[in-house]
Each structure stands twice: as C-alpha cells, then as structure tokens.
C-alpha cells in the first residue's frame, strides 16, 4: 500500500503533471498535431511510389502472405536530383524570394522608420494603413494587379496618354510582375517587425550620435541599423520563407518562364497526380528553408542571452 502511494506521489511529482508544464504542453500539442503529424505523413508519401488508386500512392508497410515488408522508395528524390527542372526551380524560387526580400527591406525600412518617428497621434493611423489591405482577400488583391499591369491596364494607359510610350510595355506574366506581387503582398510582414524593433530604440542614442558630430546618414548606418538588426532579420525571414513557396503570385502574375517551386508542386499534385514526387519536392523545400530558420533561431537565442 505504501509503495503504491509512493508511486502515485512520484507520478504527481513527475514533470508532465505539474500545472505549469501542462500549460506549456498546449503549444507542443498544437505543434505535434498540426506540424509534426502532417510532416510525417508528407515524409511517408515522399518515400512511396505513385499508383493509380485511392490514395494515389503505395503503402510503405505491407503485409502479404504473412510477410511484412517495408518498401522505402528513394526514387522520387533521385528523380528530383536527376531532372534539371527541379534544381532550377529551387534556385529560381530562392532567387525571386531573395530579390523580393531585398526590395521589401529597401522599401519597408524607411517606411517603418518614418512611422516610428511620426507623432504618436498619427502613428496608429499609419500603421493601420499598412495592415488595412490585408483585411481583403489576398487572392483579390493579387488579381487586382493584373488590371494594373496588363497591356491595356492602368499603368500602360496612363503612360500612353501622357505620350511617354507608343506601345504598351509588357509587364504582366513576367518575372517583374512576380516581384511586384511578392513585394506588395509581403511588405507588411517586413514593416511590422521593423516598426516594433524601432519603437524599442532609445531615441537618445540617435541624439547622442548627432551630438557627437555624426551626420544623419552616419547615424543611420552606425547606430539605427545596427540596433535594429533583430527587426531586419525577423522581417526578412517573414518575407523570405513564405515567398520561396509562393504559388498564387507566380501563377496569376508570372509567365510561362517563371519557374517557382510552388508552381512545380501544384503541377505534380494536380496535373501529374504524382503525390510522392510532390511530397519529395515539399520535403526538399522544407530542408532548404530549415537552414535559415535554424540560423535565425540561434541568433535570437544569442540575443536573448545577451540581454539577460
């Protein structure tokens, strides 16, 4: 009896049953359900073979004639490495995402700085203006860009009316349109972390720099930018990571030569119905993205340690 109560007591003492830990368990449970389980399913499919059936892939573990066999098919990954298409799609996705991130930073940084320096009364209005477009459908906003960029769209019509050009500039269905779309769509994700970071910046540091003889430009590069590095990194991650896998923007605004991994994934899934190859594409993309995410995580931890 005593042993039993002791065991119960030990169980109560065990980490998971403490109230504090059960609260922490909730986000872990969430991650388990909505990240890890789907990931394992996708991983599983990526090692299967395509077949015309429901579901359209083979099982990894089969039991036939009292024989348990595990079939892990690496063919999908081999296929990805043998076909140039995938490699250039990854490369092109990363290039498009990088360039878009850079433009988001170049446009978003001055905007965030201006908002953080604005009088307190107008700051919230400006911030609202940044967020406001996200309150309508993403799809509709991207679709609207077709009307702006198309040969007889607003830009071309305006330029022709002013006599700047005679024939419409081809903008729609080019990589340029994809850049415009991504920069437009993800700009708030750059501005918000930058703004949050800049609001924490002690304004007396900017004044101290000026007091010590630094021009506004020197102050920007020597004081403001180094001290908002965390915001810059967070903003770039928030733009870069989803931009790599972006599908809607290249599909609506991009041309036939726009190669992005999101589009490839869609084609494998819905046109070729090759779920295993599509899954392998997704797994490789995740592997590529995990590197910058891990680096960011390590950087954040380092920052936290420095602050404490």
């Amino acid at each position: 009896m005593k042993a039993l109560t002791m065991r119960w007591y030990k169980l109560r003492q065990s980490a998971w049953l403490k109230p504090r830990n059960s609260v922490i368990a909730i986000p872990y449970l969430w991650l388990l359900l909505f990240f890890l389980v789907p990931f394992v399913i996708v991983l599983k499919i990526s090692f299967a073979e395509a077949q015309i059936a429901i579901p359209p892939y083979t099982d990894l573990i089969t039991l036939a004639n009292d024989q348990l066999s595990i079939n892990i098919n690496l063919g999908n990954f081999v296929w990805l490495f043998n076909d140039d298409l995938y490699f250039s799609a990854y490369l092109s996705s990363i290039r498009i995402a990088l360039v878009s991130t850079l433009f988001c930073l170049l446009i978003g940084y001055p905007m965030a700085l201006a908002i953080s320096r604005a009088p307190a009364s107008s700051r919230n209005v400006l911030l609202l203006l940044v967020i406001l477009p996200s309150w309508t459908s993403f799809l509709i906003r991207i679709y609207a860009w077709i009307g702006i960029l198309k040969p007889n769209g607003y830009i071309n019509n305006a330029l022709m009316a002013m006599g700047v050009i005679d024939t419409p500039i081809v903008m729609l269905h080019t990589d340029f349109a994809v850049y415009v779309g991504i920069v437009y769509a993800y700009l708030p994700f750059m501005i918000l972390p930058l703004y949050a970071n800049m609001m924490k910046l002690d304004h007396s540091l900017v004044e101290a720099s000026s007091d010590l003889g630094a021009s506004p430009v020197t102050t920007l590069f020597k004081v403001i930018i180094p001290l908002t590095k965390a915001g810059i990194i967070a903003g770039c991650m928030l733009v870069f990571i989803p931009a790599v896998g972006e599908f809607v923007i290249p599909e609506l605004l991009g041309g036939p030569e726009t190669l992005m991994i999101g589009k490839i994934l869609w084609e494998e899934f819905f046109n070729n119905r090759d779920w295993p190859v599509a899954s392998a594409v997704a797994i490789i993309m995740l592997a590529l993205l995990i590197l910058p995410i891990m680096w960011f995580d390590r950087y954040q931890n380092k920052q936290m340690e420095e602050q404490s």
Binding site: D202, S204, S210, L212, K222, L227
Partner: protein, 372 residues
C-alpha cells in the same frame, strides 16, 4: 539691498542667449531668456519639472529649434545650426551609451566623425579613459557596467572631442543616492581639470549648489534669479527662489519706518517688529512686504530677549532630534509655524521640550525682504 557681484564678470563671455523662447503647440516652455555663459564656469539650470530647463538645454545642444531669439557663440547666431555641427557635447541623463559598441568604441565615436587618424584616436581614448579611471574596462560593453561606471564612460565620451561647452542633463539622475555625493565632487574635479565650460540641468538644489559656480533658478519658462549658490541662498530675490532653495520662514508685514540705512517692519504674528540694518529697494510704494528668514538663522531661548526688535514668542509644536542638529516647529499666534534648526553643539545641554513656551530671536541682518 545690493547683490554681491558675480564672481565671473572679469571672465570672457563664451555664449550669450538673447530673448530665447520656445513654444510647443502654443504652450510656452521657455520665455524670453537672456543669459550669459562665461568661459570656464559650471552653470546650473535649476528648477522643478516642466520649468523649461531641459528645453533650454536642448536648444543649446541643437535638438530643439528656438521659436524666437538667438544663441550667440563666437560672435555668430548658432540657433539653427544642427547638433552635429556644434562644438558642444552632451552627457545624457540616461547616458545614451551605444549598446552595440564597446566602451572604447563609444569614446572613439565622436573622434571618428572628425576623420582623425587611428593612432590619434587611440591615444585620445586612452587619455579620456584614464581621466575617468575606466582604462581596464575598455573592451566591455555598456551592459556589463554598473551605473556609476556608465556615467564615467559617458563623461569620457562627451569630453573626448574637447568640446567648447559641456552639457550635462541631470548628471546624477540615474545614480543611487550614496553614489551621487561622491560623483558630484569628482565630476567637478574632472571638469575643472579639463577646463571645459559646463552647463548642467538639475532639479536637485543640493546638487546645483555642490557643483555649480552660478545657478539660474527657473520657473514656468523664465529665469527668476541668477547668482552664485551663496547669493541664491542668502539673497533670494523672490518668494519662489527663497522657497525652492532650502527651507525658509515667510512673514507678512507692513513697513512702519523706512530710512536709507534701516527698515522697521511690523509683523502681526511676532511680538516685536523686524528691524533690518540696511535700506531696501524692492517694493517701493507698496507698504506690504514679505520677509524671509532661514531656519538656521533663528535662535531660541527660554527667557525673553532684551532687544526692542527681531523676536517673537511661540510654543514648540514638534521637534526632531537628528543628532548633529535638531529641527523645531514653533507655533506662533494666528496658527503660523516657524521652522528653526539648532546645532547640537553642547552634549550636556538639554534640548527644549515639546509644548514648551520659547522665544525666537535673530540678528538685524538675518532677514530678507522679498517681492511677491
């Protein structure tokens, strides 16, 4: 009454503020300030919060543009010159040390803006860190330093460029009380050693009196009085200054007799009239005046004084024995309280007791007549 002459009238004027004003959204933070800063002095702007002292300092450093008036420095109006082009450096209240740079880099920051040679910068940084006794901390980041050490680095940084004017914004504001007293004197030592002219802002009258050669007392955007700590304390020119600097007892009175050499004032709450041994210039035709007397200038005795003037009678309502001195609150007729401090210079003498009836008296030069 004649004010003692400013000790620095022989020195050269470094900077002159003329009719300087600043308003924010219609609120006048600084009103028509005229002020001369002399070379080599430590000048304190003293006042409560919202008196305009910080705004005035920020106009000197260039962070605020004056609405009106001019700041003359080396014969030129620099009111509109941006901070990075002024040969002044400021030590911020929060110190504003760059958190991403080492102590060394912080001190070198201003020198680098002058495109100085690296070897010269290094030498100057070492010299500055030595001056503030922070040489062994040169590789540290600001967050690895204590409050006092940060202040030293901030001081070194603001002195590194050999500014013509050093501005101190509440220099002791971020330090704990114990450290303040030590740092005040050390700061003065360093400033005097370097020989830089210094304008400081403080709300702490003790700090201003310890550190400054001259003090300007500010209220509601105006300078009420400028003078040495001694002048300000002993010869306040108005009720606000008398009240703000130290403790003061104020009496309402009516001039009974006014001669070039003396004044006699009737005070209803005192048993005898006040006699002042010099003429007064202030109130003129106004026969009603305020008389200020400092607590330490009042003497107490158990027996009535023999003089005709300058005494009163009251009851000890409250007393605090503080060791080196005692503070008494004496209740006069008409519910007026007078504060008296007495040095406990005799071990055996029994202090006065509560509810005891006592007599207050003072010398003819103890009182100051004030304008309203």
């Amino acid at each position: 009454m004649t004010l003692k002459h400013e000790s620095n009238t022989t020195s050269k004027v470094l900077m002159e503020l003329k009719n300087l004003s600043k308003s924010f959204d219609g609120h006048q933070a600084v009103r028509h300030v005229d002020l001369k800063i002399y070379e080599g002095e430590i000048f304190a702007l003293l006042g409560g919060s919202g008196c305009g002292k910080s705004t005035l300092l920020r106009m000197l450093s260039g962070f605020e543009l004056p609405t009106e008036g001019s700041i003359l420095f080396a014969g030129e109006d620099i009111a509109k010159v941006p901070p990075y082009k002024r040969p002044f450096n400021m030590m911020f209240q929060s110190y504003a040390l760059f958190p991403h740079m080492t102590v060394e880099a912080n001190v070198a920051y201003g020198l680098k803006q002058d495109k100085m040679k690296k070897a010269d910068i290094d030498a100057r940084v070492s010299e500055m860190l030595k001056l503030v006794h922070m040489e062994e901390y040169r590789k540290r980041k600001p967050d690895q330093l204590s409050g006092g050490q940060r202040q030293r680095v901030a001081l070194a940084r603001s002195l590194a460029k050999k500014p013509r004017l050093l501005l101190l914004d509440e220099p002791m504001g971020a330090l704990d009380k114990k450290l303040r007293g030590e740092m005040q004197l050390e700061l003065v030592d360093i400033i005097k050693q370097v020989g830089v002219t210094c304008v400081m802002v403080t709300h702490d009258q003790e700090e201003a009196m310890t550190m400054a050669d001259r003090i300007a007392v500010m209220q509601a955007g105006e300078i009420l009085q400028i003078g040495s700590p001694h002048d300000i304390y002993e010869y306040p020119n108005c009720r606000f200054v008398a009240d703000f600097i130290g403790t003061v007892n104020l009496f309402d009175g009516t001039i009974a007799d006014e001669e070039p050499a003396f004044v006699v004032i009737d005070v209803p709450n005192l048993a005898a009239p006040i006699y002042i041994d010099h003429g007064i210039s202030g109130p003129g035709g106004n026969r009603r005046v305020n008389i200020a007397i400092r607590p330490e200038k009042v003497r107490m005795s158990a027996t009535p004084p023999e003089e005709k003037y300058n005494w009163g009678k009251g009851i000890i309502d409250d007393l605090a024995y503080l060791g080196q001195h005692s503070i008494y609150h004496i209740l006069l007729p008409d519910n007026q309280f007078v504060q008296v401090t007495q040095t406990n210079d005799n071990r055996r003498e029994r202090p006065f007791e509560l509810e005891q009836e006592i007599y207050l008296h003072w010398t003819p030069d103890a009182c100051v007549v004030l304008e309203e």
